[in-house]
Structures are given as C-alpha cells and as structure tokens.
Symmetry: D2
Subunit: 433 residues, 4 copies
C-alpha cells in the first residue's frame, strides 16, 4: 500500500525548492501571535482524497486506487494510505463521513460495528502521528434510501435510520476527540415542489437537528455542531440554502445558540455570494463555525470543488475570519478534489501542498492588512456618524419614526453623498496580496 505514495517525501517548507514543497506555509511561523498552523488548522477530506474515483456524470472512474473495493480489508488499506498521506503533508487534521471509511450494509448495527472497527484503527494511528479529527459526519445522501432525503424524507423510517446513523457517527467523532460535528444536507430539500411538503419537511428537519443537539449534550460532546449550507446539487433546492437561510432556520427552531455553520467557498458561489460574504455574514450573525476551502469554476454551474489557486480571493476570506477572532475550534478543511485527469499519487500531494501555500499566503496578507488597520480605519471613518449625536439618537431605545422624522424636517437635512472609495480600497488590498 505504502507503495502508492512511494517516492514522495514529506513536504517541507522550502521557498527555494524546485519540486513539491511549501514555499509559503511555514507551519510554525508566528503571525499575529500564533503559529500559522494554529491559524489555518488544515484538514484533509477523506472522501475526495481516498474515496472519490474521478468519475463524473459522463464518465467512469479514472483513479483506480489500490484500496478501492468493498471489503473491510480494503477499508483498512485505505486507512493506511490516508495516514501515509497525512505523514507526507503534515497537516494537523482530517475529516470523514462514515461512508468514506468503511463499506456500508443494509444493517444499521453492522454499519456501526464496522465504523467502530475503523475508528479503532484511526485512534491508534492518530495517537501515533498526532493527527487530529477536525470533524466527523454521516453520509445521508449517497445510498438510494436517501434519494428523497434523510431527516426530510417522506418516509419516517428513513428519518429513524438517519437518527441511528448520526448517533453512531457523532459518538465516534466524540471518541476520536473530533472538534466539530458537521451535517451537510445534500438530500434535505426537493427535486420537485409538486411532490413536496416543505412545511412538514422543515419541521422534521428542525426536530432532527434538535435531537442531535440534545444527544451531543447527553454524551458530553463539547465540539461544535455545524450545518453546511449549499443552495442545490444534488437536490434542486436544499433547505440549508446559504448562511442567511440557515440562520433563519436555526432561529425558527430555537437552535441559534447551539448550531453554527461550516461555510464552503464553492457553495457560496453556487448561491450567488462571495466566500468572504458568507463568512462575514456568519460571523456577524454569531454562527461562524468552520470553513471548507476549495474553489468553484465561475464559468460552470455545478460544484467543481477545485483546489484554491487565487491568493487575492483567499486573502479576503481569511481577513473576515481574522476579524472574527479566528477559526478555532473550526479549521480549514480542503473539500477539494483532484480533476478527473489528475490520476497520479503526485497530483494528490502537489494539489494539497499548493493549496496550503495559497492559504498561507492569503492568511499572511490578511494578517498584515489587519495589523496595519488598512481597511478598518477607513471603515470606522465612514460610519463615524453613527457614534455622533444623531446616530446615537436613532439607535436609542425610545427612538420613534416620528421623533427622527420631525428632527430631520426641523433641521432641514439634505445629506450630501460622500465617495465610497471602492477602487481606492481595492488598491489598498492589492498592495497586500
């Protein structure tokens, strides 16, 4: 098995390297009082790196990894390969679905038994290597039983199946000291409104999430519970559309203090937002939990999950994160897959190493902007009026429409436009990236 990555040495920080190396990601370099590794908290995604086969809607798998297969022996070999790659990359975390790490059956107890068997292996390897679990999750979307949803399936048996599966995954995550538990509802939504009862579905979904929160407390799991927004794909409409939608949902079911979001770049773009928008909004609503780092092809309409390669974009995302106090206990999970033609082991290592460098450059640029007060000083100036008398009067508890209106009329207000200085601010950012 180790032969798969043979010839690939651990990736080192070496700005002058000619082959695969970190040219920017110096894990222990201190920025804003913390080493880069603690800012970025990189995680490798088991699914894209070890389970995906390179297939797409028009083509068969191209990756043909030696561990592909349906047996527990294959699953163990896969785990060996995974930790071999973690050793090469040296990233602090990984993430997984139950479905990624062991073959699935139609028997819940057998599924849980198998999951725990692999978890035993993970536990040993994690303690040997120091690799941590950023988050665990259950795959409630691949198997045909989930085709009409997990928690929002018209058949309550699927809800019950999902409850059992999530309990198992949450408990394994707890045992492996995962710092978060994620729910991505790829099938929680609809293909056609014609056969859907949204009102019921939302209530079922609210119930499901409430149960997960209750169980988390029951077992003493102190990690974050995170929902991952995505507007569509595989469903036509997904109930966790974007950050704002999830926020409204959490408020509706009284979960806004218990559940946060895992924001993904590609999903932000599919929803018509920038990544930094979704991060900033989640932060301002108090629900920023973690990020899935990747990128989407702006010219395609589906979730391409590519490795990031644009420093200016990544810098703006980390800037909003730094403003919010950083990612922990969340992290930067590479929810990114190799392109279908990138079939070599070297591609897998190089893609992650390059992405880690892009993130490091983005984070360091963001930190410099932040430390220089380069964006916050002009922002404070722009909103200064809200700290003055009129601004305070408007926000005073007893302010009324008539009170403010009377005042505006009495003062003969005629406010003059002031430049928003967008291009100048963009120029400032360009100096850093």
């Amino acid at each position: 098995m180790s032969s798969f990555f043979s010839g690939l040495d651990p990736v080192r920080y070496d700005p002058e390297a000619t082959g695969i190396a970190f040219r920017h990601y110096d894990a222990d370099k201190v920025v804003m009082g913390k080493p880069l590794k603690d800012h970025l908290r990189f995680a490798v995604a088991y699914w894209h790196s070890f389970a995906a086969d390179g297939s797409d809607p028009f083509g068969a798998g191209t990756f043909g990894r030696p561990w592909f297969g349906d047996s527990m022996e294959d699953a163990r070999q896969k785990a060996d390969a995974a930790f071999e790659m973690f050793r090469i990359l040296g990233q602090p975390f990984f993430c997984f679905h139950d479905h990624d790490v062991r073959p699935e059956t139609n028997d819940l107890r057998e599924n849980h038994k198998r999951l725990n068997e692999i978890a035993d292996i993970f536990e040993t390897k994690m303690s040997e290597t120091g690799t941590g679990l950023l988050w665990g999750t259950a795959n409630l979307f691949t198997h045909p039983r989930f085709m009409a949803g997990g928690a929002t399936n018209p058949d309550p048996e699927v809800f019950a199946w999902s409850a059992s599966t999530v309990r198992s995954c949450l408990e394994v995550t707890h045992r492996l000291k995962g710092e978060n538990y994620v729910l991505w509802g790829g099938r929680e939504g609809y293909e056609s409104l014609l056969n859907t009862d949204m009102a019921q579905d939302l209530d079922h979904y609210g119930r499901f999430l409430s149960m997960v929160v209750e169980h988390k407390h029951k077992i003493g799991f102190t990690g974050q519970i995170l929902v991952e927004p995505k507007p569509q794909e595989p469903s036509k409409h997904q109930y966790d559309h974007d950050v704002a939608t999830v926020y409204g949902f959490l408020r509706r079911y009284g979960l806004e203090d218990e559940v946060k979001v895992n924001v993904e770049q590609g999903h932000a773009i599919l929803a018509g937002h920038s990544f930094e928008h979704e991060i900033a909004l989640a932060r301002d609503l108090g629900i920023l939990g973690s990020i899935d780092m990747n990128r989407n092809d702006y010219q395609s309409g589906w979730d391409t999950d590519q490795f990031p390669n644009n420093v200016p974009e990544v810098a703006l995302a980390y800037y909003e994160i730094l403003k919010g106090g950083g990612l922990a206990p969340g992290g930067t999970n590479f929810d990114a897959k190799l392109r279908r033609q990138s079939i070599d082991a070297e591609d897998l290592i190089a893609a992650h190493a390059g992405a880690m460098d892009i993130c490091a450059r983005g984070l360091m640029a963001a930190a410099r902007m932040f430390e220089d007060d380069a964006l916050e000083a002009p922002r404070r100036d722009r909103y200064a009026g809200w700290s003055d008398e009129l601004g305070r009067a408007i926000m005073a508890e007893d302010a009324t429409l008539s009170g403010i209106a009377d005042r505006a009329e009495a003062d003969g207000l005629s406010p003059a436009p002031k430049s928003g200085r967008q291009e100048i601010l963009e120029n400032i950012v360009s100096r850093y990236v």
Copy 2:
C-alpha cells in the same frame, strides 16, 4: 392628455375578439366561490407605466410621454393619464412610490407637501372611479443621497431623511386606504464588502423597520407592512436577498408577526429560485403578503421585469397562493415594464390586457387542480407515514435521538425507496394548463 390613449376603448371580456380584449379574464366569473377579480386583485404599477422612459444602461429614453417633465403641472397631467388608463383596463388597484407621482426636491417638507397635493387628486379620482390603492411605497434608491443606502447608509442623516420620507408615504397610503405598505431596499445592501459594516447596517435596518411598524400602529394603519426581497441589482448584495433571508432578519429583530413579504417573480429568479418556491416558502413561514407579477428572461442576469406570458409557470404560482388561502389583502401587482421598443400607447394597454389574461388562465387552471385534489391527494399519500405510529413517535415532544435510534436498530429497519413520480405529477399539471 387624454389624447395619449385616444382611440383605445375600455378592454372588454370577449373570447372571440380580434383586437385588444380579455379572452380569459372575465372579472366577475366565480371560481372557488369568489369572482376572478377578488382572487387576482390586479394592480397597475405607476412607475413602469407612467414614469419609466424606456432608457437602459446603454440607451436614452424612447417613450417620450407627453407628461414627462419636472413640474407639478406635469405630475397632474400624469395622474390624468394614469386614471385614464385605469378606466381602460378596469383593474381594481394601483401602486406607487412618492418619486413616481410628483417631482422631488432637496427639501423634505416641500416633498411631503407635493405628495399630499397629488394625493388629493388621487383621492378624488379614486372615489370617482372606484380604483383602490393596493400599496404605496417610498423611493429610497433613485436620488444620489441614497447611493450608499437609505436606512443602512453610513451617514445617519440619510437614515433620518428616509424616516421622514417613509412617514410621509405611509401616512399618505393610510389616507388613501391603501391595503399594504411596501419597502423595497434596492440600496439597502452593499457595492463592496470592503467599505461596509454589515453588523451595523443590519442593526440600523432592523431599527428602521421596527420604527415603521411602531408608527403604523400609532396612526392606526391596519394594512400589511411588506418587505420585497431581491438578491441584488442595483446593489451587489441586498440585505433582503430572498424570502428565507428576510424571514431570518425578521426573526432576529422580533418582527416576524408584524411584517410580511411581497414576492416578485423576477427577483425569485435572480435569487436562483422559482416563483412558486418563494411563494410556497413565504406561505409556510407565515409571511406571504402580496405578489409582484412579471417575468425575467432566463437568459439574462438582470431584472428584466417583463410582462408574464407563460401560463404553466403562472399557474404553479397561483396554485401555491390558493393553497395558502389567497392573496387578500395582498394582490397581483404588475411590476412589469414595456420593452424599450414598445413605444406606443397601444403597447401599454395590450401588455397589461395580455398579462391579465395570462394570470386569469393560470388562476383558473390552479383552481381546477386544487378542487380536483389532483396534487394534494398524491402528496398526502407520500407523507402518510408521518401520521402513523413511527412518524408520530418521532415528532412527539419527548422524542430523543437515542430513543429513535434504538428503535430503528431494534426493528432492523431497512427502508425501501419509493418512486417520487415527478414526471407523472408533471403530466397531471399539464392536463390543467
């Protein structure tokens, strides 16, 4: 003035007509116990019909109406033309912004005085003709003072100006017995996150809306307060992105029982939703207030505000409305504009008449589907499990994840997929449209 529409007779219901006529919209025809006119509650939009000039970002105005100009005399001539058109169309309602009906100045009191002067004219004409006001609204987006927002402007003076303006418009709406008051926040959002403080903006916006609600009650206005979602355009990001976003916002500021939404077809599409989705979601969240009927070009990325012309689409929208008990006190406002090349008076009448027919056909098809239980019967079947024992157990107040999980495991559940029958349901719909 009346010469503008000269030669254009009142539009009559006549299925066999060769010229402009209602071929389907028989206002008094009773469907599901109510005349069509009371189901549809059509309104003409003052802005598109009487204020817009046919310009676009690459071209000057083409409409050249006789009443165009900046004087109060022009405004009065415009009002004459408007009520002349209402007489020709016979629709029960209209809608307006302050900016549409009178020239604007930099003096708040003068603006209010002028608005009231035109309102006097409206009052007389409305009582003469029986035309009602579906809703009034304030234009807080055209004037340069609003370029960085109204309630969410970094300058609190603009908030104060907006408060005075909305008070004036709300009171005029009240005086004219408007059944709703709408807020569309075209500039409540941002052009660049770099110069924006979303956290502050949202608080200011929440405060503004709360003040409007407080004032509504103070003056005894019993109409609905409605927010109109739109994801972007003119802003890059608008805070009232879509129905789900507005819902979360209302919950955050405790306004979910006071404020509803005015859902527009074109805005739904810009946000990546179908019109029927946004209507159904608003209904299920308890905040469906009214609709802006138009259509968007699916091949363009901006808000084309075209007159509707596709019965199958419109039928699905009205179906969701009928399921929710109908539109009143909301209505069907044609937030639709003539294409830039449609410069004749006849175009204006024909466009509205054709759109009213499309809506009538859609509504009647929806009513037949509803009365036949054509979609609801299969939907109830599909969700039947939730009324059975397992479904009730899951939704019981004391249900826990472990309880349900234990049960699933003990019962050896292995749920079998059932067909979603989407194409069959689409075939059923096709029989009606």
Copy 3:
C-alpha cells in the same frame, strides 16, 4: 424480462383517458398536410432509458433494472426490454451509442464484434416492429481513455482508437438504415487551458470530422452527419460550444455543406440561448439537422435533461422548425432522463407519453400560427423597407459606404423609431398555446 413492463399496455390516443394515454398525440392526425408522426419523428434514447442507473455526483444508482450487468446476455435482455418499450410507446425511432447497447472491452475488434452481434438483434426486431433508427453514435467520453478527449486527445493513439470506433458505429448505423449519424464531443474540449493546445486540438478535430465525412461517402451512407453543440459539461469548455461556434468550425475546415447540427434544448440553455434561437440560427445558417428534445432546469447550472413539460416553450421551437420546412431526415429525440427518484417502469412510460403530448401540442399550436401567418405578416411589415428602393440600394452589389452615406446626408435622413410591438406579438402567441 418482459415482466419489467408487465401491466403496462400500449399507449393509445385517448383525450378522455384517466391513466397513461396520449391526450394530444394522435399519430396519424394530419397537420399542414402531414401526419403528426411525420412532423415529430419521435425517437427514444437508449442511453437514458435503458443504460442510465439514476446515479448522480452525490449518489449511487437507484434504478436497478433487471438487465443491468456486464455480460452480452444482459445486453440481449436490455434489447428485449427496449423493444418492449418501443411497442408500448409506438414511437417510430430510437437512437443509441455503442456503449449503451453492449459491454465494452479494451480490444477494438472485440468491441466491434459485440456491437455487430447486438446490431443483428436490432435488425431483426426493427424489421419485425417497424421501428427505425433515427441515429447512431459512438460514446467517446465515458471510458477513462477518453478523459482528455477523443479526436482532440493529446495522445494520437486515442484519436486512432476513436477513428476505429466511429468507423464501426457509422457502419452499423448504415446497416440499420439510420437516417443520421451524430457526434457529440463531450470530451472534445478542455478542463484547463494550462495544459491545452487549442490550435492543435482544433486541427485534429477538423481532421477527424473530415475523415468521417470521407468515409460516409465511401460506404454510401446517405444520412446526415450531425455535430451536437454543448458549451461545457463534462469538459470546462467544449469545442462545439453552440450552433454559431460549430458553424465557424465547419467553415474553417470546409465542412459547412457536409455536416449539420443536432440541437438540444438543455445545451442551448447552458450556452445562454433559448432553444428556438439555436434552431432558428441553425436553420438560417443552413445547418439544422435534428433536435434533442428535453428541458433544463433554469435554476441549475448543469445539464438536467428533463422531459419537456412547457407547451409555450416547445411551440416556439417547433415554429422555427416548421418555418425551415420541418425536421426530416432529422427527428425529435428525447434526450431526457427520469429523475433519480422515478424508479418505476410506469415512470418511464408515463414520462415519454407525457413528453410526446407536450410536443404534439406545441407542434399543433406552431402549425396554426404558421398557417394563420400570425407572426410572419407583422414580421414582413416590419422589414418592408428592405424591399423598397433604399433597402435594395444598400444591398446592391456595387453599394459603397460613401454612396450610402452621401445619400443619407443629401436626403437629410432622420429615421423615426417604430414600435417593436413585442408584447402584442407575445399576446398573439399566447392565443395559440
């Protein structure tokens, strides 16, 4: 095998039926001098109906047909099922890829042998049932060897493999009296410009297509050679982007009189066009060959290949076809697949029957519009000036810029805008659909 469709009777024309039936498609009904079946020339797509398994990028197959498997025996069972379904639907044609009808190996000669073995079966069944072949095609996109293209692969061995495969498929199509041969270049394009040489790729592609044309003539195949445009998916960029792009490509390689296009609704939409636009453009450029009928979800960004369900849209497409003199020797191929949740045999029959009805309604509406001269009369009026003196002078062979400019200046021209009457024309269309 026949048990798969057991209980499903041949679909009959019966406007009053309660179950699956043609409510509008009366195959022998004469419209504009021809029976509907000869206008529409329906074909069933082997791939979506018999080979697809309901999987998507996030989910495993859900269809589980009895004939799924990798043996020739499975392939024969699949052929039985296919012709059983053709008997139930009664449509005149089908279409297939080599890959759909027989298992594929890594040996070209074995692949051809197997294809011919199935073709023997087809030949018998076709002669028994009267079902014809609208077109055949080769699948040059599913197998990993094609991951970087077929004719445009950087490896010329893949070009050679593709040449052998297309020869085999073209000859089988010829033997089965196929009326067309289609090339869809799903992998003829690129994933990344960074590793692509477009100039070479285009020359290789031009060469490939030229060879196919040469071979067609050599073997006496008199059907049409068609390229199917699609902008992207599976590739990031496909060289056959849209009709206009294919036209330029054909001109570049001198193939514009030899090759036409197969226009698909879903691909038109992905390329930012309406279906009727692509059809009209192909017709006006002299390269309209056939159509793939389906629909795309306007709210998604990928190729959803749904069954059509919107008569007004379909009517506009058939209108442009009728204006061009009809489809033959092309036809209406349902390149449409069941939604992943539509797992029953009944779904497959109902979806096709419903789609055939939608097309029949669209075609009949289009025919009435055409016979009434409802759109052509106003169009001729609008362009009448081009038949007058000035219009003819401009288009005269010896016209020059200076000649026309001098004349415009001398005549003191100041052309007045005339209404484009778009809404009125849309109203006219609405009377027919």
Copy 4:
C-alpha cells in the same frame, strides 16, 4: 476646469509611495526586450471617464462633473479635462465614440461638423502631449433611432444613417492616426425573436462590415478594423456573441482576413468564458486585435465594467497575448468605470493607477512564465505524440478514417490515460503571480 483634478499630481513610479503612485508600472522598464509601456499600450476610455454620470437602472447620476451639459462649450471643457487626466496618468493612448466627445443632433452633417471641430482640438492636444489614439468608434446604440439596431435595423434608413456616421468616425480616426477602428454592436441583435428576421439581419450586418472594410482601403486607413464581441446587454441576443461567433460570421462574409476582434474581459465572462480563453481562441483563429481590460462581478449577471484587481487572472490573459506576439497595434483599453459611489476626482485617478499596476504585475508575471518555458515545456511534452509517426500519419494529407482505423485495430491499440497534471500546473502559475 483644471480645478477638477487640482491637487492631483502626475502619477509617478514609486514602489514605496504612500499615496497614489505606480508601485509596479515602471513604463520604461524593459521586459522581454520591450519597455512595459510598449507591451501594455494603455488607453483611457473617454466614455467611462468623462461621459458617464454614475447612473444605473435604479438611480440617477451621481458624478456631476463640471463639464456635463449639451453645448459645444461643455464638450471643449470635457476635452480639457480629459487631456489634463491623460497628463496626470501619462498613459500613451485614449479611445472615444463620437457620442462621448460632442453633443449629438438629428442632423448628420451637423454631427460630423461638430465631431471634426472636437477632432481639431484633439489633434492639437495630441501633438502637444504625445497622447495617441488607440481607437475611435461610433456610438450606434444610445439614441432611440438605434433602439432596433444600427446596421441590423428593420428600417434601412437607420442603416444609411449608421453608414454616414461610421464613415465620419472612421475618417476622424484616420486623421487622428488612430491605430484601430472598433465596432461594438450593442443593438445589433434582438430583443425578441418574434419580431426579428435573423437571416436578413445577418446579411445586412455582413454588408455593413464589408462596406467599412472597403472604405478603410479607399481612404488609406491602415489601422485594424475590430469587432467587439458581447453576448447580450443591452440586447437580449447580440450577433457578435463571442469570439467564436464573430469568427464564423467573418468567414461567412469573407472578412476573416480583414477584421479582427477587440476582446473584453467582462464580455468574455458574460458569454460563459474566461478572458484568457477568448484571447487564446482569437489568437489561434488569427483574429486577435486588441483588448478591453476590466472585470465583471462573477456574482452579477450584467456588464459591471469594473477596474481589474486580480493579478492571477490578468497574468493568464497577458500570457496568452505574449504567446501570440503581443498586442500592437492593439492595446489595453480600460473599458472600466468607477462605481456609482466613487464620485471624487481622486477616485478616477486612483482607479486607473491601480489598474495599470495590476496589469503591469500581470504582464511581468506572464513574461517570466514565458521566458522560463514554465508552461510551454510541459505542454509540448503532453502533445509530443503528434510529432511522432502515428500523429504525423493522422495529419498526413491522404489519411483516411479506414486507414487509421485499420492501423489501430492491427496494432491492438489500447491507449493508457496519462495525468493532465492540472493542479501541478496551477501550482507553477502560482509561483509567478
């Protein structure tokens, strides 16, 4: 007038500056044997910088420049301001439409007289300052007479008007030693297919372009004639959709050796392409003429024409240009406008200076990649097979499908997939940008 830019000094190259400066654009720095200024050939766009007023479809103008007005005196003041800004920026070129530089009337001869009067002023100022004209063009889209097209108007009088206007603009461009003449057909297309005759329109458009080419030769203009592709906006569909569409059009009318394209970043994106794709395609088709540099908001659907701010994107564009031998006689025209809120003179200068820096960084990064053979070496390797025996045999003049197919079968070919190395190539690019 000069007071508008007062306080704004000429922008200097100073990497350490704190205010507005070129931090990267050192005009005379030699890269690949040429000074940066000769690589980049920057031009300022008269329309966005001096004529645009900051209005958008929902808002009135915000810029209020002192030279706004309808008189020739205003036009002269505008010219003063323009050349004052050119002095501050020091860029070598500018571009203009007739409509930007002088007020327009309904009298062709008066329009031409006015244009020539301003051209006199330009001539003097250009010779004083050394600023050159990159290209001139005629505005055939703003005035209502063009609402249904210029050359493709259903009314041939508008064609004739357009011919006179383009003759005048082409001759002024010639007199001012413009290096190119551009046609952007914003209204050459349609709003509705229902009232359009594409076949006629295309013939009229072909005739128009042929006349322009003929006149160019007649007057001895040796600059390039360029068409600027754009898919839509203002029209629903524009005939110059994208580079591939224009290429097919040029071939159809025999103009492919006479006319090239001016490729705009924002238009590429609207058409679903990357900027580098459109540039590379134009280059490979032999029709790359010049570029309009800007950027589009990926989250909006309209043409935002923002100043570029992303070095990695710009670098890829210049890379394709360098591969094609550079831009001359084309250049880099900033078809970019200030955001509506950027109302100050300083915004105008800073936006251009920042954009010039972005381009300089992109060009220098591209040049290093090119000189290092960083992308070309792996690309040559990937396509090496086409220089070998099989590749040459395929492309040999007498190659046939059967010949290649026989050979593939005889050789028992079974080509093995090779990695496309996309992520590794992206990593390589990241080292340079």
